[in-house]
Amino acid sequence: MNTAAIKNPSWFKKIGLTLLLLTHVFAFSLVTSNADAHDATKIPRLANGKPDFSGIWQTTSAADYDLEPHSNRKDAPPGPGIVEGGEIPYLPKALEQRKKNFENRATDDPALKGFTLGVPRGIYYPEPFQIFQRARDLNIVHQFGHSVRTIHTNNTEHPEDPNDWWLGDSRGKWEGDTLVVDVKHFNDKTWLDRSGNFHSDALQVVERWKFLDPNTIEYKATLTDAQVFSKPWNISVILHRHREKNFQLIEDYRYTLDYDQYYPPKPDQK
């Protein structure tokens, strides 16, 4: 073969071309992996080195229509669902309630009354929310309903004498660059989506927040509720950073809509 190659100059050309291609591919892969490494180190961080989730975020997922896989219907686009394994493991009695909720969703969804969305629904509800973060806590402001949730990251525990909060009580800890949040002490007045998936006041949510890149968060949560579900189950959604120029939250406080007619006050109104 060597002799043939020497005899035939086209072999040199072929080998040369192959080497050139290989070099290019190798060089390109180097550039790409460098870029990845660069992005990974570029995620925003607080002065203490922890990832900084500050910003305005929103999912593009159809999760709020129905957490489970569903085809299109008159009040919802289709969606693959965000439940790991597809179905929520309801206890038999709770499944009956979920079916009733589904039938009455046009009137019974607490979000339609302007109620606080709860956790985790506020995260994948199709409206933006903003995170303000410092070393000791993260404060999440939801556009819908003006709800404000504090995730404490100062190594404190849940209160010993809790209320039944709409957004529960959130205590976070860092596992590397992942923020793990334990949320409990809820009331039973919120739903998990507009299709009637629900929980009791025994709900416990463990969230995992992680940057995929500087503008994308992977949000995962495990839901446990012995009164409603036969076992814990998991959801996962991607959150995107709003980067539109001058983007900001706009008040969406449904309770005040009935009073809008009185504002601004007119001189002839008493």
């Binding site: 809790p162 209320n163 709409w166 309770y255």
Partner: protein
Amino acid sequence: MSSKTIVGALAVLGVVAGALPANAHHAFSAEFDAAKPVTVKGVVTKFELVNPHSWLYLDVTGPDGKVTNWGFEFGAPFSLKEKGVTKKTLAVGTEITISGYKSKSGQNYGYAVESTFADGRTVKTGGAQDAPTVQPATN
């Protein structure tokens, strides 16, 4: 602070309170009937410490031995906490006597003006500004 300022501050409070949802946060007169005073004694089945109003549910045994579950509106969790009322005070199974008013709807719920706990304490548990004081029950 002059009385004018106080009136002004109250008026502002009124506007803020008025902006809250009618179906969740309301005046006494919107839901309850001041002409239907009620006193019930029973055992706590659930105590929801929820804003803007807490709710206490209790099983009441009637003269005929029939058990009925009643729900009573309490004040906001923080105001109850200030009076020493927490989840532990009214754990499931605790005995309680409530004096208040029935709902306008006639269903088994009402407004708790004051409650007497198993330890003998009597506490103002209602939170509405326009609620009347306790009257002898007509139930």
